[in-house]
């Protein structure tokens, strides 16, 4: 029976959506149990009695808040994030899920659970919607300054994740650049291109629009660019939504149209709704670590837990170690 350690305290809206999400997950999947880490007296009243045998509460008196510095996380040994990570490190739990301070989760996971052999730096991956599916993009924030070898490792890790966890056969992987030709790129990506050429299923450079049209399954970039493109994509989607709404308000005829198109917008929301994907896996550490959005609702937490389970059930970490070894130099 898998055990998932869940930081119950760190989210923007407290433990309620975390526990609601966990209960949704427990109802749907009978093959795992949870260890909720946090303040017992706050958590206990929120748990329906019939789940008592599947949810264990592990006391943690401290909470790392969103305004705290990630660098302090290692010293906050009584925090829910620290204690949940320790449960994974000691083997009492198989995976970690948190909607708390993402920098704290990252550094605790990297330094306490440790990296997979051969991984220079773990990377955060996220799924972006395309018309027919998703594209896995990494890194989207863990590593701001990357060298060519970091990018090569991200490519290998992303490819293995797409195959082992997302279940994609022979996933195609591309390097994000300012043009498709091999001659395009900045100094770092041009060197990374040469390193990645030796990795199977590397299709070469891809561009910003390729993320959304499904040209490849995996897109590699550094965490600075990954963060910017994530927020750019959100910004464009929000702006289009606002422009549509703005125009609707001005015209009664359009309001009628909008009512009729409600289903279309609902489908659209589904496609771009992060809650569908759950959270972002930190790939490259020795156990599954899922970093959920601070504003996660119950559905997002449920899906984050399922991501953790899929990774724990897979051969991900062994395969990453093996592939990194195989394509070293």
């Amino acid at each position: 029976m898998l055990k998932i350690a869940i930081d119950a305290m760190g989210g923007d809206n407290g433990p309620s959506p975390i526990i609601d999400g966990l209960i949704l997950a427990l109802k749907k999947d009978r093959h795992f149990n949870a260890i909720l880490v946090g303040k017992k007296e706050e958590l206990l009243p929120l748990i329906p009695q019939k789940f008592n045998n599947r949810i264990e509460i592990y006391e943690a008196s401290d909470v790392i808040s969103m305004t705290d510095h990630a660098t302090d996380a290692l010293k906050r040994k009584e925090s829910s994030a620290y204690k949940a990570i320790e449960l994974v490190k000691s083997g009492e739990a198989d995976a970690y899920v948190s909607a708390g301070h993402s920098g704290a989760s990252m550094s605790l996971a990297t330094l306490r659970i440790g990296r997979i052999k051969g991984v220079s730096r773990p990377a955060i991956a996220t799924l972006m919607p395309t018309v027919n599916g998703n594209t896995l993009v990494l890194d989207v924030g863990a590593n701001v300054d990357c060298d060519a070898n970091n990018l090569k490792e991200f490519g290998i890790m992303g490819r293995v994740y797409a195959e082992d966890v997302l279940g994609i056969d022979n996933p195609l992987m591309g390097l994000l650049s300012n043009g498709e030709e091999e001659s395009k790129g900045n100094e770092v990506t041009k060197t990374a291109f040469k390193l990645l050429e030796k990795v199977p299923n590397f299709v070469g450079n891809v561009e910003g629009n390729d993320i959304f049209n499904g040209t490849v399954d995996v897109v590699v970039c550094d965490g600075f660019i990954g963060n910017i493109l994530l927020k750019t994509a959100e910004g464009v989607a929000d702006t289009i939504g606002k422009i549509i709404k703005d125009n609707l308000r001005r015209s009664l005829v359009s309001i009628t149209g909008a009512v009729l198109m409600r289903k279309v917008f609902k489908n659209l929301k589904l496609k771009v709704d992060y809650a569908e994907y759950g959270g972002a896996p930190l790939i490259g550490v020795q156990a599954p670590v899922i970093i959920a959005h601070g504003k996660s609702n119950a559905k997002a937490i449920k899906n984050a837990i399922f991501q953790a389970i899929s990774a724990a059930d897979s051969n991900l970490n062994n395969d990453i170690e093996e592939k990194l070894k195989q394509f070293k130099d």
Copy 2:
């Protein structure tokens, strides 16, 4: 009377949309004339006789095609791009507009017309739509690897352009980063932050979504990231459009809704349609240079010509030189 030199040959669809756009511009603005550079025998039949006194044709037998290397542009002295640039260099024309090979235009402008004193590298700027207006983003492709000083100069040039050409009072300028806090950024942007702090109206770091919500008037980034975010934005907009269309096809009710919402979509298209903006100015060279999209239609060319006129009528280049001097070190 201003004279605009127009590369008539380089666009994806030949000289027709270029000349159509020029005629739209000539009809609307009586205070400029044009020099069309290209193959006389191809161009002459396309020009209505009544514009003969406002359009001069300047023979150029060669065309730099989209598949040619930008590095060859300097050797192609009979090309329409080269000859149009020379007309500006010699003072026979006041500004340059081309829908041809953008790399060729950039290197010809930089090397033949020359940089403004104090400019290390010219930058390409573009307007991105927000709910209520536009944001000027630079660089979007001229410079792939930038140091902190390049970014600082882009910030100053963008601010002056927003004030002098776009007519924005006290434009706010931000540095694109992976978070708003001063501590965020990669090595280059962290140093650039410190340099830009001394420039008035610098608001600090901004994020990808700030480009589209109108937080600032000018956003600074290197050309590698600028290109990626441009294409990411296009990709998201296209994907949302496709998802809406896909869903429409599935439902008769939605088709009725879509008909009613036609006006909304038309407005939306207007907001995200590059043709509205015309082209991208290359800022930092000694004369106005507007690089239009290869696929430009007549409307885009018309607006590109108006951009060139606005810049030529302004005090842009003097102000850039002065501000760069003022904020040196």
